[in-house]
C-alpha cells in the first residue's frame, strides 16, 4: 500500500514538474511570439483586442514604415557597424595581451596581472571615465562605443588561462622549426583555441549589439545612435521619428504606434535570435570555463 502511494505521488510530481517547466519554457519566449504577432497586426486590431497570437488581418505596414524612415535604418546600420568593428577590436586587444600574459616566464607578467585584477575590483567610476573619453575627443564618435570597452578583464583572464593550458611541447617544437612568436600565435595557438574564441566572439558581439549605456553616455548626435537608443526613444519615450516629422505623414505614425513599437522591438531582437543557435552550442562550455578557472 505504502509502496503504491509513493509511486502515485512520484507520478503526480513528475507530471506536474513536466507541465510546470513546460510553462516556464513557454513564458521565456511567449513575449517575443506575442510581439512578433503584434507587429504584423493592424493597429485597429491591436486596440480592438489586445489578446491574440495570430493576427486576423496580416499586414507589414509597421515594417514598411520602419524601413522607410532614415532615422531607424541609420540606427540599425550604426549598430551593425559598431558590432562588427567593435568585436574585431575586442578580439585583437584581448587575444594579444592574453597571449603574452600566458607566458609564465615573462618579466613583469605578475605586475600586469595584478594591475588587471585590481582594475576589476576598483575603478575610477563613471565621471572620471567620461572625462577621459571626452579629453580624447571621442564623444559623438563610434570609437567611444568601441575603445573604452575594448577588453573585458574577466574574458581576458579566461582566454589567458586557456592559452596557458595548451601543450607546451607544441610551441617548443614550432620554435625549433624556426617559428616566430607571431607565427606561433597565428598558426598554432589561435587554431587550437577556436572553441573558446568563438564563445568570446559571440559574447562580445552580443554585448555590442545590446549596448545601451555607452551610447547614452557618449553619443548625443541622433544620427550616430545605435538601435538600442533609438528603440528607447520610440518605445519608452514615444518620440517616433521626431527627426523625420517633415518627411513622413505624422498622422499615420500616431495611428500605427503600437504595432510600430512592436516591429522595432522585433528588429532589435532578430539578430540575437539569429545567432542564438550558434551561441547556445558554445556558451555552456564557455561559461563553465569561466566559473571554474576565472
Amino acid at each position: 500500500m505504502a509502496k503504491q502511494y509513493r509511486s502515485v505521488s512520484g507520478t503526480v510530481f513528475d507530471v506536474s514538474n513536466y507541465l510546470f517547466l513546460g510553462i516556464v519554457g513557454l513564458v521565456s519566449v511567449l513575449p517575443f511570439i506575442y510581439v512578433i504577432a503584434g507587429s504584423f497586426a493592424s493597429d485597429t486590431e491591436l486596440t480592438k483586442r489586445a489578446v491574440f497570437l495570430i493576427p486576423e488581418e496580416f499586414t507589414v505596414s509597421a515594417y514598411r514604415y520602419i524601413f522607410s524612415t532614415d532615422t531607424i535604418l541609420k540606427s540599425i546600420w550604426n549598430s551593425l557597424y559598431i558590432t562588427v568593428v567593435g568585436t574585431v577590436v575586442n578580439l585583437l586587444f584581448t587575444v594579444t595581451i592574453a597571449y603574452s600574459l600566458s607566458k609564465r616566464g615573462l618579466m613583469g607578467r605578475n605586475t600586469v596581472l595584478n594591475l588587471i585584477v585590481f582594475s576589476m575590483l576598483f575603478g575610477g567610476g563613471l565621471i572620471p571615465t567620461y572625462l577621459v573619453v571626452r579629453e580624447l575627443h571621442m564623444l559623438d564618435t563610434y570609437w567611444a562605443l568601441i575603445i573604452p570597452g575594448a577588453i573585458s578583464a574577466f574574458n581576458l583572464i579566461i582566454v589567458k588561462n586557456f592559452f596557458q593550458e595548451l601543450p607546451q611541447e607544441l610551441e617548443e617544437a614550432a620554435k625549433i622549426d624556426g617559428c616566430t612568436e607571431l607565427g606561433l600565435l597565428w598558426k598554432i595557438v589561435l587554431p587550437l583555441s577556436m572553441p573558446v574564441l568563438a564563445t568570446f566572439t559571440l559574447f562580445y558581439a552580443v554585448g555590442h549589439w545590446n549596448n545601451f549605456f555607452s551610447a547614452l553616455l557618449y553619443i548625443n548626435d541622433p544620427s550616430k545612435w545605435p538601435l538600442q537608443v533609438m528603440l528607447r526613444q520610440i518605445v519608452l519615450l514615444s518620440q517616433v521619428a521626431a527627426g523625420d516629422a517633415q518627411t513622413v505623414d505624422y498622422n499615420y505614425v500616431k495611428e500605427a504606434e503600437q504595432s510600430i513599437k512592436m516591429a522595432v522591438i522585433v528588429v532589435g531582437t532578430i539578430p540575437i535570435l539569429l545567432v542564438y543557435p550558434f551561441l547556445q552550442k558554445h556558451f555552456a562550455k564557455g561559461v563553465l570555463i569561466g566559473s571554474v578557472k576565472g
Binding site: 516556464v24 618579466m107 605578475n110 567620461y130 513599437k261 522595432v264
Partner: protein, 323 residues
C-alpha cells in the same frame, strides 16, 4: 589562480638559472621577449588609459571642478562634496532604494535558478530537458532596452495586454509604469524572467557532478525522491550556492544602471533612484562632475570593502575564495 601560477613561475626561473648557471640580465630578457611585449602593448595601454587614468581622476572628488579652469587649476575643497552628499536627505532615499532592491533580489530572485535547476534535474526525458533549457536561456541574451520595451508594451495603459485583461475582468486599469508601488516588483520580475533560466547553468553543472551511486544507495534504503533531494542533491550543490550568495553580497550597491534607468521616471523616482542613476543624473545631465565623482567614489569604496569582506567570508566557509 594566481596562487597556482606563482610556484610554477618560480620553478621556471630556477630551472633557467640551474641550466644556464646565471641569471639573464633585465635587458636581455626584455630583448628576447620583445615580440611578446609588443603584443602586450595595446592591451596594457588600454588598462592604463581607461582604468588607471580614471582612478587618478578620482581626485576630482576633492576639487571643485570648473570646466574653464580644467583639472589642474580647479581649487581643492577636501571633503566638502562628501559632507554635502551625506547631509543631503536624498542620501537616505538612495541608500534605502539601493539596499531594498538588492534585498528583494536576494529574497525573490536568488532562489529561482536553484529551484529551476533542481526541477530540471528531475526530468528524465533528455530531449524535453534540452528543449526547456534552450528556451529558458533565451532572455539572458536580450538587451535590457528590449526587456524594458517588452515591459512597456505589456503593461502600458494604452492598449497593453495586461491592462486590457484587467479592464475586462476588474473594470479598471493600473498604471504600472508610473506607480511607485509597482516599480520594485517590476524590476524583480524582469530580473527573474531575464536571468533565472541562464542562472541554472552553474547549478546544473554542479548537479551533474553528483555521484550516481549515492542515489542508488539511497533508493536501496527506501528513500523517497524528496528525501534524496534533501539529503543528497542539496548538500552536494551547497558550496556552489554559498559561493554565489557571497559573491552577490559584494554587489549590494550595484543594482544595474540600465535596468533601473529605463524604468525610472519622475513619477516613481522616490523609489527608483539609486546611486548609479544619481551619479549619471548629477554628473552627466547636470554637469556636477566633482560632486558625482564623490558619490561614485563612496559607492566604489563601499563596493571594494564588500567584495573583500565577501571573499574573506568565502574563505572562512572553506571555499577557495575569488582572489
Amino acid at each position: 589562480m594566481k596562487q597556482a601560477a606563482a610556484p610554477n613561475e618560480l620553478n621556471t626561473e630556477q630551472t633557467i638559472r640551474a641550466v644556464t648557471g646565471r641569471r639573464q640580465s633585465v635587458l636581455g630578457r626584455f630583448r628576447k621577449d620583445k615580440w611578446l611585449y609588443l603584443l602586450m602593448a595595446p592591451g596594457l595601454l588600454y588598462f592604463i588609459i581607461f582604468k588607471y587614468v580614471p582612478m587618478w581622476g578620482i581626485l576630482l572628488a576633492f576639487k571643485n571642478y570648473q570646466p574653464f579652469l580644467g583639472f589642474w587649476r580647479s581649487e581643492w575643497v577636501g571633503f566638502e562634496h562628501f559632507r554635502v552628499f551625506f547631509g543631503n536627505p536624498e542620501f537616505f532615499m538612495l541608500l534605502r532604494n539601493t539596499l531594498l532592491l538588492s534585498f528583494y533580489n536576494l529574497i525573490f530572485y536568488f532562489p529561482t535558478p536553484i529551484i529551476l535547476a533542481l526541477l530540471l534535474n528531475e526530468i528524465r526525458l533528455s530531449f524535453y530537458k534540452r528543449t526547456i533549457q534552450t528556451l529558458i536561456y533565451v532572455p539572458h541574451f536580450i538587451s535590457l532596452v528590449i526587456v524594458a520595451s517588452l515591459t512597456y508594451v505589456f503593461l502600458t495603459t494604452q492598449g497593453g495586454i495586461v491592462n486590457e485583461l484587467l479592464q475586462q475582468h476588474t473594470g479598471s486599469k493600473i498604471d504600472f509604469l508610473a506607480s511607485p508601488d509597482w516599480f520594485r516588483p517590476m524590476i524583480i520580475m524582469q530580473t527573474i524572467w531575464k536571468e533565472s533560466g541562464f542562472g541554472t547553468i552553474i547549478f546544473l553543472a554542479a548537479l551533474a557532478g553528483v555521484d550516481v551511486e549515492q542515489y542508488e544507495a539511497a533508493i536501496m534504503d527506501g528513500a523517497s525522491r524528496w528525501r534524496q533531494t534533501w539529503h543528497i542533491t542539496l548538500p552536494s550543490i551547497r558550496s556552489t550556492i554559498v559561493i554565489l550568495l557571497i559573491l552577490r553580497m559584494g554587489d549590494v550597491l550595484d543594482n544595474g544602471f540600465e535596468q533601473i534607468y529605463l524604468l525610472l521616471n519622475p513619477l516613481n523616482r522616490e523609489v527608483a533612484e539609486v546611486f548609479d542613476t544619481y551619479v549619471y543624473m548629477m554628473g552627466i545631465t547636470q554637469g556636477a562632475f566633482s560632486y558625482s565623482t564623490a558619490v561614485g567614489l563612496f559607492k566604489a569604496v563601499v563596493g571594494v570593502i564588500l567584495v573583500l569582506g565577501a571573499n574573506w567570508l568565502a574563505k572562512r566557509f572553506g571555499q577557495s575564495g575569488i582572489y
